[in-house]
């Protein structure tokens, strides 16, 4: 489907939106592994996104690293950080875990906004474009193919992960942590790996976004962005990789439509969030799947 989409996109602006959808989708597929499959809450994933973005931006812009190396280094460093803080944090459950991840996200966004000598402060900083072996990657079409390829790769990895013994262990954890531990699944290790994988994906997507846009601001690491990400996952359908992609697609394009309504944008966004969660509590894709299955079962 991703291959067919460019035929439908009329101009550069829609390409831009599609690229943003793709980048958000990469984060959401990762976040879905943590929230939907492993059943852990994270209200601070924009923190990882922001760390990847700023890390790559600072290395490339202030220290002159080649962008690809900066991206890789920032992603790896964020993953390492996630591994470090994941161990103590993931011992918390439910709302307490939500608070811990929330706190982490807010700490990142405040630090990034305040260290203006390094990060450019609240106004953000500019980022050199991505270049591979000297040739810059520019132009919407090139970026589109790059992001689409990465998204397909991410989805493929996620699906394989979910069907593997590790994935089944994750799902067992979600069902009941105590029961899973009773049959010998190391809960802490699996939760940590889901956490780190989702952090790596978020950081990579963050770095890519920074290089694509040529600019990065603290808003990308904010609490509001974390909320957007988790809403995309829940809206699309938790425990559904395609759901995460669909959620990212809908909720990235929706504000573009809503800007027509100017001042009413916030009201409508809130209303849409509430109504969809009230009437489709399991998310869009699972609800549609259930409806399709029910329709198929109807006797002719």
């Amino acid at each position: 489907m991703l291959l067919l989409l460019p035929l439908a996109l009329p101009n550069a602006y829609t390409y831009e939106v599609a690229i943003l959808v793709g980048l958000n989708a990469i984060v959401c597929v990762g976040l879905n592994l943590l929230v939907g499959f492993a059943g852990q809450v994270s209200l601070g994933h924009a923190g990882f996104f922001g760390l990847g973005a700023y890390g790559s931006a600072i290395l490339a812009a202030r220290y002159g690293w080649p962008p690809l190396a900066a991206l890789a280094a920032a992603t790896a460093a964020t993953g390492a950080l996630a591994w470090l803080i994941g161990r103590p944090i993931l011992r918390l459950k439910g709302h307490y875990l939500a608070m811990a991840t929330l706190g982490f996200g807010i700490i990142v966004s405040i630090v990034v906004a305040n260290e203006d000598r390094v990060t450019g402060g609240p106004d953000g900083m500019s980022v050199p474009p991505l270049s591979v072996l000297g040739t810059a990657i520019a132009g919407e079409k090139t970026w589109y193919w790059l992001v689409a390829a990465l998204l397909v790769a991410t989805v493929w990895v996620a699906l394989n992960l979910i069907d593997s013994p590790r994935g089944r262990a994750l799902r067992a954890l979600h069902g009941s942590e105590t029961a899973a531990q009773a049959i010998g699944i190391d809960a802490a290790r699996h939760k940590l790996s889901a956490f780190v994988i989702s952090a790596l994906l978020a950081a990579a997507a963050g770095a890519l976004t920074a290089h694509y846009a040529g600019f990065i601001t603290p808003a990308k690491a904010s609490f509001l962005h974390s909320i957007e990400l988790i809403t995309m996952v829940v809206f699309g359908g938790m425990a559904s990789t395609f759901g995460a992609v669909v959620g990212a697609a809908v909720l990235t394009t929706l504000p573009q439509f809503l800007t027509v309504f100017k001042e009413y944008e916030m009201v409508l966004l809130g209303a849409v969030m509430m109504l969809t969660m009230i009437f489709m509590p399991r998310g869009l894709v699972p609800t549609l799947e259930k409806a399709l299955a029910a329709a198929r079962r109807k006797p002719l």
């Binding site: 700490i107 405040i110 009773a182 944008e265 916030m266 809130g270 509430m274 969660m277 009230i278 509590p281």
Partner: protein, 291 residues
């Protein structure tokens, strides 16, 4: 005690009292319904902004306050009836998203009904600062602490000595048993939301003369109230109060002695550390998980 330390402690106590009231709102709703109401901060905002509107319309301050608290309580009741009740069987994350959507909706409505400017409420009894042991105290601070203390006493009396209050506590301990004893859970939920909204609004009104109010003042206050409720142990009333006061103190001391830009970072780091050591908060109930 140095005058500076006293100053920090007093301002910490003041803002802590506000966080305590907001945190109580979180605790009451969580107890009744196991939902974290992320729209709680917006009730704080509605309290302050509505009072400003009523005063601008010419009403005297006491009446404006009463009407604003009532308006916020009404919004709370509507939120429960229209958003929480229809989704009562949804998962925790879904309910969180619903309340977050509600907070976005309320903020959007506020930006339309009012404007995006910062508004000030007149101080309840004048602006003349009071000197106390080298520190200066605003009269409004005394109002905040005094009203908060009275409200806490009233709440204690409500939950322990009245039938409705006992019903709410019963639902929080064991919903099924409470229903079997004839308690209407639906009514308990409504009262909880209305009460929490009123508490939040009161907190917003009390602090508005000091820190001003605007359409988006609810975001950070709501988050801090949530943090305080978690710190104290989710679902514990005394925990919410202690958590709120502690958060206020930590923030004030951090702003005073370290850096006011990083006071929130400091506060959240302390909360994270506390949670790692005490995974259920200070007074939280140790829950057992049924397989």
């Amino acid at each position: 005690m140095s005058a500076q330390l006293l100053q920090f402690l007093l301002s910490g106590l003041t803002v802590g009292a506000i966080y305590a009231l907001v945190a109580l709102g979180f605790a009451i709703i969580y107890n009744a319904s196991h939902v974290i109401n992320f729209a709680q901060g917006e009730f704080v905002m509605i309290g302050g902004m509505a009072t400003v509107s009523f005063i601008d319309a010419g009403l005297p301050l006491p009446l404006s306050i009463v009407l604003a608290v009532g308006a916020a309580a009404l919004v709370g009741l509507l939120l429960e009836k229209l958003a929480i009740e229809p989704a009562r069987n949804a998962s925790v994350v879904t309910l969180i998203i619903i309340t977050i959507g509600a907070s976005i909706l309320l903020r959007g409505l506020a930006s339309l009904a009012w404007d995006k400017k910062i508004h000030a409420l007149p101080a309840f009894s004048g602006e003349a600062p009071i000197a106390l042991g080298g520190a200066t105290l605003l009269p409004q601070t005394l109002w905040v602490l005094g009203v908060a203390a009275v409200v806490l006493a009233l709440l204690w009396w409500f939950f322990n000595r009245t039938l409705t209050g006992s019903a709410i506590l019963a639902v929080s301990h064991n919903r099924l048993a409470a229903q079997l004893m004839g308690v209407s859970v639906r009514r308990v939920l409504l009262v909880s939301f209305g009460l929490s909204a009123a508490l939040g609004a009161l907190a917003g009104i009390l602090i508005a003369p000091i820190t001003f109010t605007s359409w988006d003042v609810g975001v950070m206050l709501g988050l801090k109230g949530f943090a305080a409720a978690i710190l104290g142990g989710l679902g514990s009333g005394p925990g919410a109060v202690v958590g709120g006061l502690a958060l206020g103190m930590i923030e004030s001391l951090g702003a005073g002695y370290l850096s006011s830009a990083y006071k929130d970072v400091f506060a959240f780091l302390i909360i994270l550390a506390a949670l790692v050591v005490l995974p259920n908060g200070l007074f939280g109930r140790r829950t057992s998980e049924r397989v």
